[in-house]
């Protein structure tokens, strides 16, 4: 697994080109800190791609930088990363680069206020490599972090439905264009004793994303902004519809059986082993599709946008997008060696990641990459043609609502919790000051 609860929203793919030299303290620091002897990194254990690619860069394009400041990597399970970051922050002992939670690093967030978050946009501009961050990545990051750019865009993902082409062909199914068609396809697959949709209860965001994407299709790209601005309620009839639809899908048996304790890896394996027909996921799944020895085979995996909802204000062309899990640079340790590292990453990471792992990043591919798999090419075309991206369900939620959205998602689709209870809990979390 690469990137978990991370995604972005934006209403425009165009990037802002004017960057203030020094941003306000509330939105991120541009400090020049003191170099450590090593390039200390703390990431989540689930993020396997970023460390692997950085280690590879250290022996290739960024060899000089790595000799001056070798990588010292630490990883912690995503469940514990927040508490570890808080503890390290309280001790003024954060590493040079670390994974953080969205609410802590948006303008005004606790770590930003403390001066532990570098403004990456300003830093890249100061290094003369501002143009190496793609406009889509920049606008997506700004939407994701409420105007700030606190994170290095190690990924550029869109979300949609991965599907098994062979299963679809065997049952004479085509890519659904509307949600009703998708439900009809799921019914056909269920009748044929094929699991229609893989999802994981222990990584409940793989279920809650269904609620989110339905909301965007039904209510338009601004649906979750209205919740964040307290101009709408998750318990209102308009928002309840999406939760009811997902609950009904669970009742109809469209999701993985035994979903409650099914792990993320097991759910992905279920799809890649050809036991299920579809999985809603981000394009970070590409790395696993391309590298695994699965039964499906990379050429049998297709990618399609989440279908439109009849009469909905959203459209099929609006993709949930994100720039990967937040990777923050600590300005206190951002000295000349660290700056050299960041410059090298901006110039080389995009091409290297696409070549080595088939994963798209928020950096330009400065060297052409040949021999891409068909699925990679499909997604590349989709990303390039994406006119508008949207938020993902939990993007603007606080820490508790984020956890509850994921933690209660399995209960929603197994019937252990009603849609009213599910949305009620999230609204209560959001209403807390």
């Amino acid at each position: 697994m690469s990137t978990l609860a991370l995604v972005a929203s934006t209403t425009s793919a165009s990037a802002s080109s004017s960057v203030p030299a020094r941003l306000s303290h509330a939105s991120g620091a541009t400090a020049h800190g003191t170099d450590q002897s090593s390039f200390s990194i703390l990431l989540t254990t689930e993020d396997t791609q970023t460390p692997a690619e950085l280690q590879k860069l250290a022996t290739t394009s960024c060899k000089t930088e790595a000799q001056a400041q070798p990588i010292a990597l630490q990883q912690t399970p995503s469940q514990n990363i927040e508490s570890k970051i808080q503890l390290l922050a309280s001790q003024n002992n954060l590493p040079l680069m670390y994974a953080a939670s969205n609410p802590d690093i948006i303008p005004g967030g606790s770590l930003v206020k403390k001066g532990d978050v570098l403004n990456v946009e300003s830093a890249l501009n100061q290094l003369g490599v501002g143009n190496d961050m793609t406009p889509l990545a920049l606008s997506t990051t700004k939407a994701q972090f409420q105007g700030g750019v606190p994170s290095v865009p190690f990924q550029m993902n869109i979300e949609g439905l991965f599907y098994n082409k062979r299963i679809f062909a065997n049952h004479h199914l085509t890519q659904p264009k509307t949600f009703d068609q998708l439900l009809a396809d799921a019914a056909v697959l269920k009748k044929a004793h094929i699991i229609p949709i893989s999802a994981s209860g222990s990584s409940g965001w793989t279920i809650s994303r269904w609620v989110g994407v339905l909301l965007f299709r039904e209510l338009g790209p601004n649906a979750m902004n209205l919740i964040a601005q307290k101009k709408a309620s998750l318990t209102s009839a308009a928002y309840m519809t999406a939760a009811k639809q997902v609950a009904q899908m669970g009742k109809d048996g469209y999701f993985s059986p035994g979903i409650t304790n099914l792990s993320y890896n097991a759910a992905v394996a279920q799809f890649l082993d050809g036991k299920s027909a579809m999985m809603y996921m981000g394009t970070w799944l590409l790395a696993q599709i391309l590298s695994s020895q699965d039964k499906v085979g990379r050429d049998n995996v297709g990618f399609m946008p989440f279908p439109a909802v009849k009469g909905g204000k959203g459209s099929i062309g609006q993709y949930p997008a994100n720039t990967g899990s937040p990777n923050v640079i600590n300005p206190n340790l951002y000295g000349p060696h660290a700056q050299a590292w960041l410059k090298c990453i901006a110039e080389n990471y995009g091409s290297a990641s696409l070549k080595d792992q088939g994963v798209f990043t928020g950096f330009r591919t400065n060297q052409p990459v040949a021999g891409l798999a068909p699925i990679t090419q499909t997604i590349q075309k989709t990303i390039n043609s994406a006119k508008q991206s949207v938020l993902w369900f939990e993007a603007l939620f606080g820490l508790k609502a984020n956890d509850d959205a994921s933690g209660n998602a399995a209960a929603l689709v197994t019937g252990a919790m009603s849609p009213q209870q599910y949305m009620g809990i999230l609204q209560a979390d959001q209403s807390q000051p």
Binding site: S83, S90, G258, L399, G407, A411
Partner: protein
Amino acid sequence: MRQVFGNRRAIAFFLAPALLVYIGVIVVPVGWSLVYSVFTGSPASGFAFAGLKNFRALFADPTIPQTLWFTVKYATVLTVGQIVIGYSLALLFKFVLRRSSTFIRTLVFFPVVLPTVAIALLFAQLFAVTPQAGPVDSIIHLFGGHPVDWFVSGSHAFVVIIAMDMWRSVGLFAVILYVGLLDIPEEVIESARIDGASGFGLLRRIILPMSRPIVAAATIFALNADLKVFDSILALNNGGPGTATTPLNLYMFQESFNYDNWGYGSTIALLITGLSLVVTVVVFRSLRRDITKD
């Protein structure tokens, strides 16, 4: 010796190191936690005085009654199981297996030394439905039953949690209670037998009353440990689905460290402390009857 214990300086000298350690690791953190409960924030974001806000939030929080009820239910069921099964095993060791009980005692005690997380993973697989049916569902299937998703609801998950923690801990209580039974003088049992006591009568009139102190100690020990359950549930299902199997300790951890509400987390910690204190006093009072008055 009497001179030494009559000397206040000597007493202070011997007690001071232990007292200092106790103050450092128990009293200070408890006091610190008490102070946190009237503040909001976290070390990273800073603290602000909040007065009684956290206590008002505690009474208004709908998750508190749910987690409190789960904690009490869990502690009650598990403690009863630990003591009853543990005592039964101890009787088996002492009166049936006698000297040949060493191997069985080792087997029963073995889960106690296993890491909790490993046990949780083991039970997650034992009760799994997908990707492969675990042994429990395979047995159900063998007898013609339908597969059961053991983690789909709080009541199902509760069964797994109790089974797991019982298996993990009952060996410890069996050994503790067995040691208690060894302390009963053989002459007393022998003379009771000569007087005609045997079987259940011997157990009810001689063994049980004479092992009351160790049963009381084991009950207090079990209840307090069970009221503070944390790691096994965290590793098994993280208190899910939702908060259906979330004990107070796990809820306190989530509030403090996942959501940066150190103040509110400390308030929940106070509730747990109060609960443990009340339960200890109640159990202690109800079991401390003088056995010579029987």
